[in-house]
Symmetry: C2
Subunit: 92 residues, 2 copies
DNA sequence: AATCTAATTAGATATTTGTCTAAATTATAG
DNA sequence: CTATAATTTAGACAAATATCTAATTAGATT
């Protein structure tokens, strides 16, 4: 189950910020990196964790790799949290 | 901002299980511990992290300490995730 | 083919995390 | 007021995490 992975992936602020960036649309690894004060290697490390958690997916194109949000797992987390919060509003 | 703390708190499986236990109702530290194969000291450590993240609160009573879920912060996380997922269903 | 560019992988390292044992704290009950 | 019970705190330590530099891979362009 990748559920645990997902929570861990979300635990890092840089990774959450990457996801926020991707809300606007897909972005290459380099473009993502330019928003942070980190080396490309570190960005690559974070991207791998997000990818393993199925929070993003990649498309290779030319010699760029584009990353996009994958919201399907976010859905699962919303359910878990919603359940934790209690059945106040079934329509999550 | 305790938001980052909350995500980190949720990243550990034992801590998520503690929260799930508390859904049913409040529980003393010892009672919580009896559900895990860990020493009381370790349980105490996890409880402190959950408390700092404002995911639980404690009430001292007799010489027990009872812990309960605090769902108000869960609400904030639901919002963040809901926003990340996109505006498909405004009524989160 | 040679080289440039985008990105990842490998290896090293400092920091953080989860766990334990032992000691300290705090309150209740004799 | 001493002994017991519930829990936390302190200190140690192994494992995991985030970061870097350097090296490698894979495509594209000349």
């Amino acid at each position: 189950m990748a559920f645990a992975e997902t929570f861990k992936a979300l635990a890092d602020p840089a990774r959450r910020e990457i996801l926020t960036l991707l809300k606007v649309g897909r972005m290459s690894a380099g473009e993502i990196g330019s928003h942070f004060d980190m080396t490309g290697a570190t960005i690559s490390y974070h991207l791998k964790i997000l990818k393993n958690a199925e929070l993003i997916y990649e498309e290779k194109e030319k010699n760029f790799i584009y990353y996009s949000l994958n919201t399907s797992v976010v859905e699962d987390m919303l359910l878990w949290l919603s359940d934790l919060r209690g059945e106040q509003d079934e329509k999550n």
